[in-house]
Amino acid sequence: MTKVTLNVNGETRTASVPPEMTLLRLLREEFGLTGAKLGCDVGDCGACTVIVDGKTVNSCLMLAPQADGRDVLTVEGLATMERLHPIQKAFEEKGSLQCGFCGPGVIMSAKALLDENPDPSVLEIRDALAGNLCRCTGYSKMIEAIQDVARGDNRQPVGESA
């Protein structure tokens, strides 16, 4: 067993895990954060995307001990008690998701993109999110939502209460 201490959504969490445990399993099974999903197990689909030290990561591919000492942001850390994150809000209003299973991963990838590039072109959006598969929607409402956020103010959380 390996002791792992990391910052998850602003809170310091510790767990003692087998060294081969993935970050995704640590989040889902040890910390009860089931937002990130297990879609393909092998880095193909992006359903497990979280942000580690500002960069998107397929958490099914990262080992939990590799996240030791790092900052991890999951979809659960985006909204506050009062407000949705603007990307969440836009995805909700635009009808960007259908089954929703890909959503947490897509939203985290979109967040990482907008943090780095607040005004991405459609091509840049497609490029940045190429690692996130969705089987339901055909993607167009997601692109619209991300563009909406980019056009608005994506720094300040706005919108009605979560």
Binding site: L33, T34, G39, E92, Q98, R126, R135
Partner: protein, 746 residues
């Protein structure tokens, strides 16, 4: 204010975006002592199991028990109708078929245990595709047949041609793989969370395997992370394994297939082989069609028979077939049991007639859209199974509206001119129609029940038999209930689907989820509403002011605040012996125009623009409906262009992950994508004037295949044909063929 018809977000959207929406496998944390299951997979496509010793697995630390034949107190068989899917087979029928399961304290322990199970096999010859099945006489059904008119006129037609078309299957790739969680409930019975489109059938199969009556088994589907038909029958085996494990150990058991295992062991859209002969009159109207359709059903029957029926019903697509004889037969092969997938055979049937229309156009040197439009159904005409095509003029309206809104003629002229100037990169444009029959072809499935509960504070819980897989059914149900009761949307909560709330439900399938369940919910709400109206009439000012006040008054007057609703689709019937009847309550119509660009050196192509006009009746929920159209279309584009299932000569699925099986990604989305809903389209006798929308848009993607055909034709001469999917590789070779036929390079 009415909420039906408003562009509301998905009922589950808030949970989806916050990560709070729970899917079956997200519930594991609620079950201390949870066991994990891993299958023992057979390494042959066809083999006899000569020895299976599971005992060594028990020596593996963390392994709790194994599940093998003899563990099931009931019948260890999950085949829905024919009981032809043994859970612990002694004859392996497809590569990686599970022959036993291991339960462990952790997934890793179960997996290590499964590797230690000693299994020996005697390999047997395998039938791996339709041609081999035909040669071996390997079938799952008798021939199914639909015929109408005198097909012998085919021989004397002005234009006569024949051909063969291979149509590939499709992997569902629902983002959430098969998942189930089972435990012994407080009464010692069995409860299951299952990602299933058909909770009542999952309940039936679990009860069968455990030898229990159905009231001892409760199945709940919280929601699904996509299904597309792939969780109609295919969910049952995972639920049965979880339930059997829980029954044997007394501990909760989780089954969640890894993606690799899910793709290896669950059924897919049926590959088809079609042989056809068609005759046309000189005016380009179809005179007669004869065809044999063979589907690759895999190892067990599953839903292959009704899927073949639907293929036969849809060989007309939107065209009048004056004389036709189509025979369909399901082949048995040593592959996964192919199953329902959005369209349910309809897409394969339609692909045949669109191939025929396109070839007729080329052979008659007419534009394909002209040949297609000349053959569209006219008012008063009937299908080849004798059902009158009501509202046939809608198809003509859609056709002309879409041609003009997409500037079809002008763009075609512009493309022709541009192609003449560009030797190696050319474009093409095509328009194709869709007419899709709505109803389950098995008549008894066309029923639904609901149970609506109103509380004294005026809030409402709605229970119904439909499942939510992302298609927006719960959103529509919530809207229908709110409007029918006359309350605000926020007062209505749609509950997850449970067999202990509404019994004997039908699968959520055949695009009929909102037609059937919506009507049942409306029935229950109307009953409550009329009881409340009577209460309100007796209130002091006789006025209906506050819903909650009326509910409280009703309670005090001992008026019941709950009701069951029921719906059965009227006037549908079909006799498979005569091939005549009215199997569909109505038809959904639509059309699409797509433009593509092909690089003649490589066969690589891009979808440049798609315009869609779809008849959804009076849309119940426009955001949901548009989402279904966009998503269904893209899924169809995947099926017809890039998604190619490949099996090797040993029957192993070579495309066993998203790394080798190409799914539509962000880059497949056309840069211009216009989706419109037909206006003034209210549909009488369907819930609130709406029409089904789940499946029909998938087949709009045929416009992309046909646009590719147009481009290939522009590279040379001769009749253009290629199998499906139209991968860049196939397009490359198709271009090579027509270039070789080109009279002379100038």
């Amino acid at each position: 204010m009415k909420v039906v018809g408003q562009p509301l977000p998905h009922e589950g959207a808030r949970g989806h975006v916050t990560g709070e929406a729970l899917y079956a496998d997200d519930l594991c944390g609620r079950f201390p002592g949870l066991l994990h299951a891993w299958p023992v997979l057979a390494p042959h496509a066809h083999a006899r199991v000569t020895r299976l010793d599971a005992a060594p697995a028990l020596e593996e630390p963390g392994v709790v028990t194994t599940l093998t034949a003899g563990d099931a107190p009931g019948e260890a068989n999950t085949g829905p109708n024919r009981h032809d899917e043994p859970l612990f087979p002694d004859e392996v029928m497809f590569h990686q078929q599970p022959v036993a399961w291991v339960l462990g304290e952790t997934l890793d322990a179960a997996r290590r245990g499964a590797a230690r199970v000693a299994a020996e096999y005697e390999p047997l010859p395998a039938v791996l595709d339709i041609e081999q099945a035909l040669a071996a006489g390997s079938y799952l059904t008798a021939p199914l047949r639909l015929a109408d008119g005198d097909v012998s006129v085919l021989e004397s037609s002005a234009l006569r041609f024949e051909g063969e078309l291979r149509i590939g299957g499709q992997e569902h790739f629902y983002l959430e793989t098969q998942a189930a969680l089972a435990w012994r409930d407080e009464a010692g019975y069995i409860a299951v969370y299952s990602s299933t489109q058909h909770p009542s059938e999952t309940q039936e199969i679990v009860a069968r395997v455990l030898g229990l009556p159905r009231h001892a088994v409760t199945v709940e589907c919280p929601r699904m992370g996509g299904a597309f038909g792939g969780k109609e029958v295919q969910a049952n085996a995972s639920a049965a394994v979880a339930a059997l494990g829980a029954w044997k150990t007394g501990r909760p058991v989780r089954v969640r297939l890894t993606r690799a295992i899910d793709m290896a062991i669950t059924g897919k859209r049926h590959p088809f082989l079609v042989r056809y002969a068609a005759g046309f009159n000189a005016d380009a109207t179809l005179r007669a069609l004869r065809a044999e359709l063979y589907s690759d059903g895999g190892w067990s029957l599953d839903l292959s028979e009704p899927i073949m029926w639907r293929a036969l019903f849809h060989v007309d697509n939107a065209y009048r077939l004056p004389a036709v004889e189509v025979v369909g037969r399901v082949c048995r092969t040593h592959k996964t049991s192919q199953t329902a997938f959005r369209g349910f055979g309809g897409p394969q049937g339609m692909l045949l007639i669109e191939e025929v229309m396109a070839q007729a156009a080329q052979r008659l040197a007419l534009p394909a859209d002209v040949v297609r439009s000349r053959n569209l159904y006219r008012e008063g005409q009937a299908t080849h199974y004798g059902e009158r095509v009501d509202d046939a003029e809608r198809m003509g309206t859609i056709w002309s509206q879409l041609k003009s809104s997409s500037a079809f003629e002008a763009r075609r002229a512009e493309i022709a001119a541009a192609n003449a100037r560009s030797a190696h990169v050319k474009r093409g444009i095509a328009i194709t129609p869709v007419k899709f029959g709505i109803s389950f072809t098995a008549q008894f499935y066309n029923q639904a029940a609901a149970y609506v509960l109103v509380y004294r504070d005026g809030t409402v819980q709605v229970n119904h038999g439909g499942t939510e897989m992302g298609q927006g059914l719960f959103t529509k149900i919530q809207q229908i209930a709110a409007d029918t009761l006359g309350v605000a949307l926020a007062r209505v909560r749609v509950m997850s689907t449970r067999t202990d709330k509404v019994p004997n439900t039908s699968a959520t399938a055949a695009s009929s989820g909102s037609d059937l369940n919506g009507a049942a919910v409306a029935d229950a709400c109307r009953q409550i509403r009329s009881r409340l109206a009577a209460v309100a009439a007796g209130m002091p000012d006789g006025e209906w002011r506050e819903f909650a006040a009326v509910c409280e008054a009703a309670y005090r007057q001992r008026v019941p605040l709950s009701a069951s609703g029921f719906y059965r689709t009227p006037d549908i019937h079909f006799d498979p012996r005569t091939g005549r009847g009215r199997p569909f309550h109505y038809y959904a119509f639509g059309a699409a125009v797509s433009e593509v660009e092909v690089d003649g050196f490589t066969g690589a192509y891009r979808l440049l623009r798609t315009d869609i006009l779809e008849d959804v009746g009076d849309s119940l929920s426009p955001v949901v409906d548009r989402g279904q159209i966009e998503g269904g279309f893209i899924q169809g584009v995947g099926w017809l262009t890039i998604e190619e299932l490949l099996w090797d000569e040993a029957g192993r699925l070579a495309t066993a992950g998203a790394s080798t099986y190409k799914l539509p990604s962000w880059s497949e989305l056309p840069p211009v994508f216009n989706v419109s809903l037909l206006e003034r389209a209210a549909m009488p006798h369907v819930i609130m004037g709406s029409k089904a929308v789940g499946e029909p848009p998938l087949m709009l993607a045929i416009s992309v295949r046909e646009a590719l055909r147009e481009v290939v034709a522009a590279f040379g001469s001769g009749v253009v044909t290629f199998d499906s999917p139209a991968t860049p590789e196939r397009i490359f070779f198709a271009v090579q063929r027509v270039r070789a036929l080109r009279p002379a390079l100038t």
